[in-house]
């Protein structure tokens, strides 16, 4: 993995106000992100996993500046700014981003290909839209460029003059990918890009994304709740729980020997499509607590089988458990032993 950084998130927070009452006063906040530190390296695919509502999409949207974080900062280290020279993009608006040439460099592909494409626009225009905003190509060149993009995602020129509803879910996701790569980006947030698709189509899209990453030298933030997909595509994986990153590790290490109890539970909970695999399941009690009133101390303590008094009082800080591995748990050193004793793994 190349060592140079492309994006850096520092203490990122996003709190959504909850309004209530007749006067629409703020009565509470949803702490969707509550202090996230994340370094993303050029050329990698960083997986971001966690259960729904833990803040994965909010993280992705913050990175490409679809909303303003409440606190913290985001640095972008573009090639054109020189090695190691970051730009703080946290507070920059659309116009400022465009002026710095950053806007087209950061892109996003959303989960639901049916709602992310405008149903009244021709495919040609959907894909051309982001480039049109960027540079003034002539109509002929534009069409050529769009056809080229379609070809890159496995579609053909014949699809130019059709509407989104004429395509299957998988093809629509290909169109969304074509639109994302149109501006020649450095970095793409893929937000559950295959979660709405069938397995055979999912495999097609995953392979497409992998080959595009190689040929265009892209960096991905791959957001999903599907752990086996993350295992297939990503180099490193970050595990989120209730607005925090609880563990970060190279994907192979994470799957081979997780440290955090939540990661253990997640991994043991995946139904494995293999009859010779006998799971040692760690079934967690209860539901994910509401991000409005997250539990004190370690947020996982209400469901953690190994919680102690200290977990309720004090929030664990991320510790470097091994080179390149971070874990936020008071008892991470004991966890493998505890899991073995309690669940016989």
């Amino acid at each position: 993995m190349p060592a140079d950084m492309i994006l850096q998130l520092k203490g990122l927070k996003k709190h959504y106000p909850i309004l209530g009452g007749v006067l629409r006063k703020q009565i509470n906040t949803v702490k969707a992100l509550d202090g996230i530190d994340l370094d993303i390296y050029r050329g990698e695919c960083l997986g971001l996993v966690g259960e729904s509502g833990c803040g994965k999409t909010t993280t992705g949207k913050a990175v490409i500046r679809l909303h303003d974080p409440s606190e913290g900062s985001i640095f972008y280290y573009g090639k054109e700014h020189g090695a190691g020279r970051g730009v703080d993009i946290t507070g920059l608006g659309r116009r400022a981003l465009k002026k710095l040439g950053i806007r087209g460099k950061l892109q996003m592909v959303f989960q639901d290909p049916t709602t992310s494409l405008n149903p009244r626009m021709l495919i040609k225009n959907i894909i051309a839209e982001p480039i049109r905003a960027q540079n003034g190509l002539g109509a002929r060149q534009m069409e050529k460029r769009v056809a080229e993009l379609l070809y890159m995602v496995g579609l053909t020129k014949d699809h130019l003059l059709r509407y989104p509803h004429e395509f299957s879910g998988g093809q629509r996701q290909r169109i969304a990918v074509a639109r994302a790569i149109a501006t020649d980006p450095d970095f793409i947030v893929l937000d559950e890009p295959t979660s709405a698709l069938d397995v055979s189509v999912q495999a097609q899209i995953l392979n497409l994304l992998k080959s595009l990453q190689d040929s265009l030298q892209l960096t991905y933030l791959f957001v999903t709740h599907h752990l086996l997909v993350v295992k297939y595509v990503s180099n490193r994986t970050a595990v989120m729980y209730l607005g925090k990153i609880v563990e970060l590790a190279p994907t192979a290490d994470l799957f081979a020997s997780p440290f955090h109890p939540y990661t253990h539970a997640l991994l043991s909970g995946i139904p494995i499509p293999d009859v010779d695999h006998k799971p040692h399941r760690i079934v967690l009690a209860g539901d994910v607590p509401s991000p409005m009133n997250p539990p004190s101390g370690c947020r996982f303590h209400t469901r953690c089988p190994f919680a102690q008094e200290v977990c309720r009082r004090q929030e664990p800080v991320a510790a470097e458990a091994a080179p390149g591995r971070l874990v936020a748990c008071h008892r991470w050193q004991d966890v493998p032993r505890l899991v073995r004793e309690r669940f016989g793994k």
Binding site: E51, L206, N207, V283
Partner: protein, 393 residues
């Protein structure tokens, strides 16, 4: 194992504006007693329609056009009831009692303005009225009542209701002010049973949960409540249609764990419909794979995963990311066909890497290709020696 339910050549069509959707193309399945049968396939292949046809709850504009659904209520699996020719009243007494169904979308199945307890109790009141009246009658013997006449009166009503749940006089009394209070004890009994069954599903404070409304509960909790409702009358067959597909991994693990426990305790069979091969591998005994309205392969779960014979099954297994294997995922080209105008012959032939001339011309029948292993493919079975064609696996 004796059979519990069986479909033969089931054909269901939907008459839509775009044309006739030929959703089921002669579906034949057998579910045995005491087993969990998994039905897998990609979306739109007809899994839900199969289940709905079995229970005769196909949505508009669908019609069951042919075939048979045979239900074997007896222990030995000998005598069959053909469900498609039964009256709607018979089906109603069957649904929720001997066969129950839970769906993917719990919000659609729960009534938002009724408490959880009332909704669970409803299924007891519909199917178990007789039994519960007898129970109340029993309790009345030892009950202390303010005056003896009341006891007589209550006993009168409950005796009649226990003999015939649809008793005219009781129904009339239930609609008359003051008199309708005779039912209170029945309702209390239904509620007691609701709390009991909810508590049995590992839900803490069941006695408080029954007084809540669906919107106060999380997705996993709602799915448990639906399971509670489905299990209320200890059905012979539980149909779970993508019951865990919308849930998070840790919650799905809870629900699958629960189903496994319930399966051990009560003998009921489960028809588990899912698109997730992982869920199938872990929870099912036998598996049927569907593609575009046809069943293409049926086998025991170990056999299916180790020795898949149908090209579509192999394609599906190759396409899922796995835990222990890395390397490129193989993917089949193309998409699931439109069922208004399905491909001729074998419906998989436009995408099949092994297709022959005959595949486009003739529909392959589901036939034995090994012990307890059914495959619908022209290349399978003893005829052409499938193992050579595919080079083993």
């Amino acid at each position: 194992m004796p059979k519990l339910i069986e479909t033969r050549d089931l054909v269901t069509n939907f008459y839509t504006y775009e044309g006739v959707v030929k959703a089921l193309n002669k579906v034949g399945l057998v579910i045995e007693r005491g087993t969990t049968f998994g039905l897998v396939g990609e979306s739109g292949c007809g899994k839900s329609v199969t289940a709905r046809s079995m229970m005769r709850v196909v949505q508009e504009p669908g019609r069951i056009e042919g075939g048979q659904v045979l239900f074997y209520p007896g222990e030995d699996g000998q005598e069959a009831v053909e469900l498609l020719s039964q009256s709607e009243a018979y089906m109603q007494s069957l649904r929720g009692d001997q066969i129950s169904m839970i769906f993917q979308e719990p919000n659609a199945a729960l009534n938002p303005i009724m408490t959880i307890g009332d909704q669970v109790a409803e299924s007891f009141l519909f199917h178990r009225k007789k039994e519960m009246c007898a129970k109340v009658l029993e309790d009345l013997k030892t009950a202390d009542l303010p005056w003896p006449g009341l006891k007589k009166l209550l006993e009168f009503f409950y005796r009649r209701a226990a003999a015939d749940p649809g008793d005219r006089l009781c129904c009339w009394a239930s609609r008359t002010p003051i008199l309708k209070r005779w039912q209170q004890r029945l309702f209390r009994e239904a509620r007691r049973r609701s709390v009991e069954i909810i508590a049995a599903l590992d839900i803490a404070n069941a006695d408080q949960v029954v007084d809540r409304y669906p919107h106060n509960l999380s997705g996993g909790m709602k799915q448990r409540i639906l399971i509670a409702m489905a299990l209320a009358c200890e059905p012979l067959l539980l149909i779970a249609d993508e019951a865990t597909s919308n849930l998070d991994v840790t919650i799905q693990a809870q629900i699958l764990d629960l189903l496994r426990k319930l399966k051990k305790k009560s003998i009921s069979s489960i028809l588990l419909i899912t698109h997730d091969l992982g869920v199938v591998a872990e929870t099912c005994d036998r598996v049927g794979v569907m593609y575009a309205g046809s069943v293409c392969e049926v086998a025991r779960v170990g056999e299916l995963f180790r020795n898949p014979l149908h090209p579509y099954t192999r394609a599906l297994l190759d396409a899922v990311p796995k835990f222990s294997v890395s390397g490129q995922l193989k993917s089949v080209e193309g998409n699931v066909p439109n069922l208004v105008d399905p491909p001729s012959g074998c419906r998989f032939h436009p995408r099949c890497p092994l297709r022959r001339k005959i595949c486009a011309q003739r529909l392959p029948e589901l036939a034995l290709a090994g012990p307890d292993h059914l495959v619908a493919c022209h290349l399978a079975g003893g005829r052409s020696g499938s193992a050579q064609v595919w080079g083993g696996r």
